[in-house]
């Protein structure tokens, strides 16, 4: 199963947010970490794809006034999602070790 670059970022954001990952917070944290402002459409598109690929699960939260009485949809990493992030990370590591002059600080 492939994981796109933006999808990976979104997945990381969901993981970082823990129990408070829903549309607006994910958008905020992405803006904070990357400095780019993804549109809600782009974000939702990635979220639905991640959901389809079963990297995340969703559950609905309570309605709030600032959302015009609508429910939040919370996202949470699945174990499959965690593993796909690990795999992506390992792949990057394995590749970058072989690049001479590229100095990477790793946990190893």
């Amino acid at each position: 199963m492939k994981l796109g670059a933006f999808e990976e970022l979104v997945l990381l954001a969901i993981g970082a947010l823990g129990d408070d990952a829903y549309g607006v917070t994910i958008k905020e944290i992405l803006k904070e970490k990357t400095g780019k402002k993804p549109s809600i459409g782009a974000l939702h598109s990635a979220l639905y794809r991640l959901e389809d690929k079963e990297f995340v699960t969703t559950h609905e939260g309570g309605a709030t006034a600032e959302r015009g009485g609508r429910r939040k949809k919370y996202y949470q990493l699945t174990s499959y999602g965690i593993r796909i992030l690990e795999e992506a990370n390992e792949l990057r590591m394995a590749f970058s070790r072989n690049i001479p002059g590229l100095n990477l600080k790793t946990q190893e």
Partner: protein, 880 residues
């Protein structure tokens, strides 16, 4: 802060909901709202609104779109298609009958439509064609489509409304002439040769491949068709090349100045070769033609200026003629008036004396069009009948669909789809059939028709197919879908009397048409039989005709006779100006003893040489035939019975009496030496007219035919041996021959062809009607399975059951026959009136036609009835 401005923009929200998938709406709208409020708090509401809009617009991504209504429709369409296809497959026989019935009907009617359209296309291409008229004449005895030579020029000079005028002269016997190229081996007989004025191409539009409309402006010029050009010059440009025409009085050189595409346009003038009338062969004869009343051999066409009142112009033309010719007419003792024929109507409507060539016939066209219409209607009616009958069995399906929640519209769609699918299949089969059949049809009618060249027919075909699909889909889709689910499920639809009445009405209608066609075929057959069994008054069998087209062959005819005398298979020989069955245009005004030249009789004249009467086997009633022993025979005449009566003589006492004719004010006397029985010297469409056979060279026209009475076991070898003798005697003239009976029958080729076509199409119509009946009978038998079962259990015999099932259809067919009889009577009476010798319709013909229709119907139905009656009642009753 204004409360109103502090909410997300409604329009953007509405827009978003228009395209956003329903299951995403909650989350997306929630996120957007939350974002909106946070932005509007951090900065301004306006910025929040703009941002909202931006986000909404950026949401226009494929993943978020609704699965549109269209895609739901596609799904349903797919479903309909699947169900329709299964329905078609479930009853294969029925579907086969239905689809093929329609396809056969459409194929046949498309063929006819192509033919009819082709006939319509004649002379529709001429520039300003609606302003072209032909001057025709009407005398006491007949209508004649050509006029004397001076008429055309006089009209052109006298009336300013005439834009241009042109004459065409067709000399009988000269339509086929010998054309010679420069090399000796290049010589061919060409048909349809006409002499025309230099203005001919100003009146008529031709598609020139080489040369232009000025082609015939110089003397001794010739314009040929592309076929002729290829024969003589191959692919080279023939402009300026010489061509020699060989006539009975010499060879004449012409220069090619134009080549036209013959196939491009169709005209009542089927020219292959057009010669300038200003020439060295008949040119001087043409110039001598100053008489306003004699030699009406010039087909005269005028093109009037736009806006000319044709009726007023016609009166002017006739007034001019009466002013110029009145005196001569009075002196000659007959009347003649001129009238106009619209050129575009000539091909289909004019079948008068001395046509340029054999024309089409509106009556036949109407007959054909009616048959085409009948076929389409029968096929479509069948299609509808079978479809509706079949659909009633599906009441339960309709009920169930309704219970499950089908809308009426979707049921309508379902049935429409099904019937359109069937008609679509029929269309495909029709197109395939047409591809296969068109070459044979073309061979039969000797045309080059193609569906792809006739977009109108193609459009009509497609339109008709789908129209019949829609109409036959209408009944089940609207009628069945109108029922409540409970009624439909209970099956109360089975008793829908209105549907049954419609179906019965359609069966009656179909069989009415079929019966009319059957009657038509029987009567046409009878008429043709009658014609071919007519006493012709001469012996048409075993007569070999050699046309003498060259001066050489005419001079050597006596030599040829003496050479052939040694051939025992040649029994009699003669030479004549014409022979029976070909056109005879020479006539003379004769008057009897004691009468004035005004009290005359129009008698057809034929130049003959000795032995003519014997060779053709014409019955001599009184007196003797021509003989070289009598020197005075140049003043002798043999008349037929009609002529004797018309002159007021009596057959018994006519011998030795004189008849007179006046020419240029002088009176000439002829002595009657013999009387022959009336014989058909023209085709049987004409009544026998007064005829004079003359040996005097004064009556000889330009044509000569060598006529032989032959008896042989092998006509091929006989013709070969005659050809050898011919080649010895006439080395410079190609050998040509024909048989008299074949030539005579050529006059009926059109009738024969029409009969063949009508017969085949009638057969198709009957087959289609029976196919429909077969399907309906099967349907009825199926519906009555239980009834039949119960009846058999209670002791009904097979015969009784068959009668039960067949009687209903027999009754319908009987009604149809009764309706058809009077219609057919009037139609056929009209057709028979075209013949001078016609049959009378007898009552038994109608009985026979009725019996045929009835037998066909009963055979068709009883097949199903017997099948149903023989089935084991246990099978049909077990289920309850």
């Amino acid at each position: 802060m204004d409360r109103k401005s502090n909410i997300p923009p409604k329009l953007a929200q509405w827009l978003l909901l228009r395209f956003l998938r329903e299951d995403y709406a909650e989350e997306v709208l929630g996120d957007l709202d939350e974002k909106f409020y946070s932005v509007s708090q951090k900065s301004t509401p306006l910025k929040a609104k703009l941002n909202y809009w931006k986000q909404v617009i950026q949401y226009l991504r494929p993943f978020a779109f609704k699965r549109s209504k269209h895609s739901i429709r596609t799904t349903m369409l797919h479903h309909y298609l699947k169900v329709s296809w299964r329905n078609i497959l479930r009853s294969k026989g029925f579907s086969f009958i239905n689809v093929f019935g329609l396809a056969f009907g459409l194929t046949a009617s498309v063929l006819i439509m192509m033919y009819v359209l082709d006939e319509w296309s004649y002379d529709k291409h001429h520039v300003g064609g609606d302003r072209i008229y032909r001057i025709a004449s009407e005398s006491d005895t007949d209508k004649w489509v050509a006029v004397p030579a001076p008429v055309g020029g006089a009209i052109k000079e006298s009336f300013p409304e005439v834009e241009t005028a042109a004459r065409l002269v067709r000399i009988p016997g000269f339509e086929t002439i010998l054309l010679k190229g420069q090399k000796a081996e290049k010589q061919f007989f060409e048909t349809n040769v006409f002499y025309v004025d230099s203005t001919f191409f100003d009146v008529f539009t031709y598609d020139f491949l080489y040369g232009d409309a000025d082609a015939l402006s110089k003397p001794n010029t010739i314009v040929i068709s592309d076929d002729v050009a290829t024969k003589f010059f191959g692919d080279a440009n023939p402009i300026g090349e010489p061509l020699t025409i060989g006539l009975s009085f010499g060879d004449f050189i012409y220069t090619v100045t134009g080549v036209f595409d013959r196939e491009r346009y169709k005209s009542h003038i089927p020219a292959n070769v057009l010669l300038s009338m200003d020439n060295n062969d008949i040119g001087s004869w043409v110039k001598q033609q100053q008489s306003w009343i004699f030699n009406g051999l010039f087909h005269t066409y005028v093109k009037v200026r736009p806006g000319t009142d044709s009726e007023a112009f016609e009166r002017k033309v006739d007034n001019l003629y009466q002013a110029e010719a009145g005196e001569d007419l009075e002196q000659a003792g007959f009347t003649k008036s001129l009238y106009l024929q619209p050129m575009e109507d000539i091909y289909l409507h004019s079948n008068l004396g001395y046509e340029v060539a054999s024309n089409g016939n509106m009556t036949y066209l109407i007959i054909f069009s009616s048959i085409a219409l009948f076929l389409v209607v029968i096929a479509c009616v069948n299609f509808m009948n079978l479809s509706t009958a079949k659909s009633e069995q599906r009441a339960k399906e309709v009920g169930l669909r309704k219970v499950v929640g089908a809308f009426r519209s979707s049921l309508v769609g379902q049935f429409m789809m099904e019937s359109l699918l069937m008609s679509g299949l029929a269309l495909i089969i029709t197109l395939i059939l047409l591809q296969l059949v068109t070459p044979y049809f073309n061979g039969l009618i000797s045309r080059e028709l193609s569906l792809w060249n006739m977009p109108i027919v193609l459009v009509l075909l497609v339109g008709l197919t789908f129209a019949s699909g829609i109409v036959s889909g209408l009944y089940p889709s609207f009628y069945l879908s109108s029922f409540g689910p409970a009624a439909a499920l209970k099956g109360s639809l089975k008793n829908s009397y209105s549907a049954k009445a419609i179906r019965q009405g359609l069966v009656v209608f179909q069989f009415t048409i079929s019966s009319i066609l059957i009657l038509g075929v029987i009567l046409i057959n009878q008429q043709m039989q009658y014609l071919s069994s007519q006493e012709l008054g001469f012996d048409k069998s075993h007569k070999l005709i050699l046309p003498l087209k060259t001066g050489e062959s005419i001079q050597n005819s006596e030599l040829l006779k003496s050479q052939l005398r040694s051939n025992s298979e040649v029994q009699q020989m003669t030479v004549g100006g014409v022979y029976p069955g070909i056109e005879l245009v020479t006539d003379m005004l004769f008057f009897a003893e004691g009468k004035t030249s005004q009290e005359n009789v129009d008698i057809q004249t034929t130049y003959v040489e000795g032995n003519y009467i014997e060779t053709l086997g014409i019955e001599l009633l009184k007196g003797r035939t021509f003989s070289s022993e009598f020197k005075s025979d140049t003043n002798a005449v043999v008349l037929n019975e009609s002529a004797i009566k018309a002159l007021g003589y009596d057959v018994e006492s006519a011998l030795g009496k004189q008849v007179y004719y006046a020419l240029n004010g002088e009176r000439y006397a002829m002595r009657i030496i013999g009387v022959v029985a009336d014989y058909h010297f023209e085709s049987l469409q004409h009544e026998i007219e007064p005829l004079a056979l003359l040996i005097s060279p004064a009556f000889s026209g330009p044509t000569r035919y060598f006529i032989m009475d032959v008896q042989s076991a092998s006509y091929t070898s006989l013709v070969q041996s005659i050809e050898r003798v011919w080649d010895e005697v006439n080395p410079g003239s190609p050998f040509q021959y024909s048989f008299l009976d074949a030539d005579f029958e050529r006059n009926y080729r059109k009738e024969m062809l029409t009969m063949q076509l009508i017969q085949s199409f009638t057969l198709i119509a009957i087959v289609i009607a029976c196919l429909g009946l077969f399907g309906l009978a099967a349907f009825t038998a199926e519906r009555k399975t239980k009834e039949i079962g119960v009846r058999k259990v209670l002791g009904a015999s097979v015969g009784q059951v068959v009668v039960l099932l067949s009687s209903e259809f027999a009754r319908l067919v009987l009604i149809a026959v009764v309706i058809a009889a009077p219609i057919a009577y009037f139609m056929m009476d009209e057709w028979l009136n075209e013949f001078a010798y016609r049959i009378e319709m007898s009552w038994w013909v109608f009985l026979v036609a009725g019996l045929i229709a009835m037998t066909m119907a009963i055979l068709t139905v009883s097949f199903q009835a017997i099948k149903a009656a023989l089935s084991n009642p246990v099978k049909s009753l077990r289920s309850e």
